[in-house]
Amino acid sequence: MIEIKNITKKFHSVTALDNVSLEIKDQEFFGLLGPNGAGKSTLMNLLIGYLNADEGEINIDNERVKKDNLSVRTKIGMVPQTIALYDDLSAFENLEIFGSFYGIKKNLLRAVIAENLNKVQLFDRRKDKVKNFSGGMKRRLNIAASLLHDPQILLCDEPTVGVDPQSRNAIFDYLIQLNEEGKTIVYTTHYMEEAERLCSRIAIIDFGKIIAEGTLEKLIEKLPYEQTILINKNHSTEDKIELFKSFGSLLNEQEKYELKPFDHLKLSDFFKSMEENGISYQSIDLHKPTLEALFLQLTGRRLRD
């Protein structure tokens, strides 16, 4: 179990993490969702002992995590946000290098490398230089490099940045499989879709503070409405912005308006008003709220702002 107790971390005058406390259970797929600069990577760097906290402590299975405690690191595999590989070396050589830091014997290491390359479907490309790989292949290798010592915890710091949808799905499937095999996964992202899809429990972080935490369902329950109203943009809806705003807060998306209804709104009143203003039912759709909506509700800002 990972225990994060009252962690504060400052960089000069900037408070990156402010009294953060979390508990992540064994075999959990835990998501840390927040916009860029919220403090996600700082928390990851504290979890691997790359940084020391100014206040508070982190324990993994009751063992303190800090810069000078090297033994606890054998329990952790880290997938950095960047592609932390040597471009001019082959996939196999990269894994040999990173595996060697865990004291795995040469023959065993070779077998482990082969196994992991197979799992990320790169065994056939093991002799190719990393610089010749696609973005998705590099990301998969980036994950494989973190699993050579079979850690019980895998920390993934935005591991799908810049990856095409197909590779992203492959990575998601692999992470889900690892979680099902018993690994605890801590996953940071600023994509709410990723957190919603992968994580059994999510903490939302903003300006270094945890502003909400729980399962997806519990988090959505915090919203004052149960459904989001999506209105297609067309000739009948384009000049009705003021009308829509009278029913809730409105987000002007590229192809749609997204309406977060006010507390007291009755859907029947809304649809009646739409009909009176010549807006067809076909232009309107109802959706379950997302984490994006929760973040907006909690901070007044959008995740990607």
């Binding site: 760097n45 691997i48 002992g49 790359y50 810069k67 000078d68 090297l70 033994s71 690191r73 054998t74 952790i76 595999g77 880290m78 950095p80 946000q81 960047t82 592609i83 932390a84 590989l85 040597y86 990173f98 830091f101 865990y102 004291g103 490099a145 973190s146 010592h149 920390l155």
Partner: protein, 437 residues
Amino acid sequence: MKAILSLIKKDYRIFFHDRPAMSMTFIVPAVLIFLFGSIFGGSSSTPTGINIAFINNSKSKIANKLESVLDTTQAFKLIKEYTNDEGKVVKFDTNSVKDYVRKGNASAALVIPEDAFTDTSTGLRLKFYYDPKNEIEMQTIQGLMQQTIMSQMPNIFMASMQHREETMLGKNKGMKFNRKIASVVSEYYGIDTSKILNWTKFSFSDSLVADSASNKNNFFKDLLDLEKVQLVGKNINNPNATRSVGGWAVMFLLFTITAASTSLFDENKSGVVVRILSAPVSRVQILWGKYLYNISLGCIQLSVLFLTGYIFFNIDIFSNLLNLIIIIISSAAACTAFGMLLAAFCKTSAQANGLGTFLILTMSAIGGAWFPTFILPQFIQVLSKGTIVYWSVEGFLQVLWRNANTVEILPYAGVLLGITAVVNLISILQFKKGNIF
């Protein structure tokens, strides 16, 4: 046109934000122009203060006059004493002065022997012991030495003739002889007698330095018997290659090590350092790993370069192999310390490489990798002794040129290792203070 102007403006903006590019464009060339200008042009094109060991065993006035002339010549600094094994400062004798040159304390020694000039002499006999560890240096020293001596020969010759005349004929008869000679010359060449008599009025008390250049003449050259004795490097297979291999090798070693050290920045930027530190590896271990890698790479590179010198230029690297290895290791350690210092103080790889290039070229120029340091201005010669290049080049010369033994090379290895220790200490403090990773 507006677009082109915008593009030009854009490039200038980027350029002025790129400090390494600015340094390579303006500072590096300016420093090198200053150095080369100081050497090959500028206010004075003649080197000054070249150390020459000196003995005057002659009691003749001519010898004493020559010593005083050399003493006042800016080109040379005469060293007449040395500290012996007992720690006492004593005057040179012929053996000690030769040892002094052999050990590389001075590039040459001038000895005025007891019989340099006698009453029956028609010329001046001198001995010149030298170590041509650097050909340019030795040619310059010999040229300046001969120029200085020869410029005095006409006056010395005339004075000696007067002296001999006085000794043989007596003062009155001598003057009578001069007047007769003057009247004969006047009769046949139409020159005023008083003018001719003035020419003969030379004395050892007169300034002998006056008209040096105008009196240079082949006739007078016969009056000087400068016996040259090469003390060091007579059996060197390929003197030119042997002299230059060390300097070039050290310069390229510095470039290699700087690039290797600053790779820390690239590893940090790519996230590799975070990945490594997420394993059971400490920061100190990363630094040690990088440090030992650089030293070993430096040793391998220097060995390969010397081996190349052996294969292509027949440079003898095997007869003094142990001492060569000592200097190779010392140089590699010092160059690695330099690379780590750059990594500790710079913030980016580009900054480190820009500053590194500037410092390496400057150190190579003033440290003796490109040309001998003696031709540099005095204050730069002092600065050069603070560079890794200087001590490495001198160390390699001790081993390859002078075939020095382990005790003799210890000062060079010691200085290099001393520089290594001090620079490493500074780097460690900066690594602790800074936030490279």
